[in-house]
């Protein structure tokens, strides 16, 4: 797989493109636009860009007010800062009144590396899923992030979009289509299904290759939308393969695994395994080393799949 841009960079570029087409898009920043890449939008549309300083609570409220007066409001910060620092504001000023505010959390997961746990969003998906009215999307790579930005822009309701820091392999080499709430099947197989999103999609494909070389055929689903989850795709996976592994760069509690498990139990209970951060913070270190140490690699997915077979 060729390496593409980071999903944050893809987000920033896509948002700027969208800004050229829709002149009612406004962007609110909390002094991190060079990290979140809303700088691309800021450079082109300075009159529609508001940097309110390091004040996430206010940032969310300002976006809510802009949306209330008819703007399509976007805001971006580190996943941990916007979700954890301004959660009540997201809950009360955005989710409850169901406003058209798009929240983008960058630097999600542990693959940010050396900056360490204070900057790692490892609970953001769980928190976003706990906000009624929110759609939650976790794109895997550059092309799918570009599609996802456009897909959520069409919604009139709030959404959370998760982006990562490092450059990531291109999963969708031949372009892609992101439909909110509809999983993309990247590979078919009859023995086990691997459901993943974000950074873990490329790991899932590598795991499927490894399993195939050992005679195990794995289906791979990119579950880019965590809420609303694609129950139909999960039900088919359960019925057709009888075993499911979920992989995510997030705490196991309340993330993709929890959402998939709920659907599985509802539709057709089958044995499952979960690859993710197991109730712990990570630490500083190089991204690759961290993913290995904390069990977020293709090898971990292979091991989990074999446990089921």
């Amino acid at each position: 797989m060729a390496t593409g841009k980071s999903t944050r960079e893809a987000f920033g570029l896509a948002l700027a493109e969208l800004g050229a087409e829709l002149n009612d898009i406004v962007v609110v920043d909390g002094d991190v636009h060079n990290s979140t890449r809303t700088e691309h939008f800021a450079k082109r549309f300075p009159d529609r860009f508001f940097n309110v300083g390091i004040a996430e609570s206010n940032m969310v409220g300002v976006a809510a007010g802009l949306a209330s007066s008819g703007k399509r409001a976007w805001l971006a910060s580190f996943a941990c800062f916007v979700m954890c620092n301004a959660y009540d504001q997201l809950r009360m000023s955005v989710a409850f009144p169901c406003l058209d505010v798009k929240v983008v959390g960058t630097h999600a997961g542990i693959s940010i590396g050396e900056d360490g746990p204070s900057q790692m969003g490892i609970e953001d998906v769980s928190l976003a899923c706990s906000l009624p009215n929110f759609t939650v999307v976790v794109p895997a790579d550059e092309p799918s992030m570009t599609c996802a930005v456009r897909a959520i822009a069409k919604l009139k309701t709030p959404a959370y979009l998760r982006a990562g820091r490092p450059n990531v392999p291109i999963v969708y080499e031949n372009g892609c289509d992101i439909q909110i709430g509809k999983a993309n099947q990247l590979r078919d197989g009859k023995d086990v299904t691997i459901i993943a999103n974000g950074l873990m999609v490329s790991a899932a494909l590598a795991a499927a290759d490894q399993l195939a070389s050992e005679g195990i055929q794995a289906r791979v689903l990119d579950m880019h939308t965590v809420k609303p989850i694609d129950e139909a795709a999960i039900a088919s996976a359960a019925a057709d393969t009888g075993k499911i592994v979920v992989a995510e760069e997030h705490l196991l509690h309340g993330g993709l695994g929890s959402a998939v498990a709920m659907a599985v139990v509802k539709q057709k209970p089958v044995p499952m395994r979960f690859v993710g951060l197991n109730d712990c913070f990570a630490e500083s270190g190089p991204p690759e080393g961290l993913l290995q140490k904390y069990g977020l690699t293709a090898a971990d997915i292979v091991r989990a799949a074999k446990e089921l077979i």
């Binding site: 009159d47 300083g53 609570s57 008819g70 009360m92 000023s93």
Partner: protein, 278 residues
């Protein structure tokens, strides 16, 4: 200023106060004293010609916005909106009842005229900034009014908002602090003393006025002055009495926070209001 006289405004204020007392007593819960202290502020805005609105068109893009950041004073907002014609006053007795859009705290999705869903203190000023920025972008001349409690200004978000409003020179934004001197667990002077607030807001770049918040003429003048102020946001520090004008009736518990008057107290309160000269 509008053609309405101070005497007429006092009559409006009296009607609103009665609705606050009656609706909360009927509901058996709610925040009457927090609502009563801000009656003149809201009356001046909605009926003193300070705000431009059309109750038949609650989503009119050019309307002035009133955001009740101290959302627990919902009974005040509901009484004012009913009096302004957003919905019938017959609905006021449904306050806090199952199925009623007059929820314990304002819900903008259920009731016309409610500009923001509030109840978690500290959030309304930021929302007001968003509206005010949108007005500047769209070259519209609508104004944004945000009513806060004095206890509410303990919240850090209020000061985050104050800083950013100054950055964007939002002279179409007015914050009003209902300085009734009490918050949930006691006097603001004891819980967290922020007075005098004027120098604080001025240090954040705002134009600050401190007034008697029950003097309608003073309130109207302050709004006029705020409207004439260019290049920076305005704050009106309104010195009020929590539960006004029932302070004698409530002297055993002057804060009387978050509880309705008992039926006999409510009766006395209504009689007292009737005796007041307008």
């Amino acid at each position: 200023m509008a053609d309405i006289s101070i005497a007429d405004l006092k009559t409006k204020a009296k009607i609103i106060r009665k609705e606050i007392i009656t609706s909360t007593t009927a509901a058996g819960s709610g925040h009457p004293t927090s609502s009563l202290s801000a009656v003149e502020i809201a009356t001046a805005l909605f009926f003193g010609g300070m705000m431009r609105y059309d109750a038949k068109k609650p989503d009119w893009p050019d309307r002035d916005r009133f955001i009740l950041s101290k959302g627990h004073a919902a009974p005040l907002l509901y009484a004012v909106l009913a009096e302004a014609g957003y919905f019938s006053a017959d609905q006021l007795p449904t306050l806090r009842k199952l199925g009623s859009p007059l929820e314990g705290h304002p819900n903008m999705r259920r009731l016309p005229g409610v500009e923001a869903s509030t109840g978690s203190l500290g959030q309304g000023l930021s929302i007001g900034i968003g509206h005010a920025l949108a007005a500047k972008m769209d070259k519209k001349d609508y104004r944004v009014y945000v009513l806060l409690g004095d206890g509410e200004t303990d919240e850090g978000q209020v000061w985050e908002a104050a800083m950013s409003a100054k950055k964007y020179q939002l002279d179409n934004l007015v914050a009003i602090v209902d300085q009734n001197g009490y918050q949930q667990t006691g006097p603001t002077a004891e819980v967290l003393d922020l007075r005098p607030q004027g120098p604080r807001w001025e240090a954040f770049g705002w134009f600050a006025q401190e007034i008697n918040g029950h003097d309608l003429e003073a309130v109207l003048n302050a709004f006029e002055k705020a409207a004439q102020t260019k290049g920076r946001p305005s704050v009106i520090l309104a010195n009020t009495v929590k539960g006004y004008p029932l302070q004698d009736l409530l002297k055993a518990d002057p804060n009387h926070h978050g509880k309705p008057l008992k039926a006999d107290e409510a009766e006395k309160a209504l009689a007292l209001l009737d005796q007041m000269v307008t």
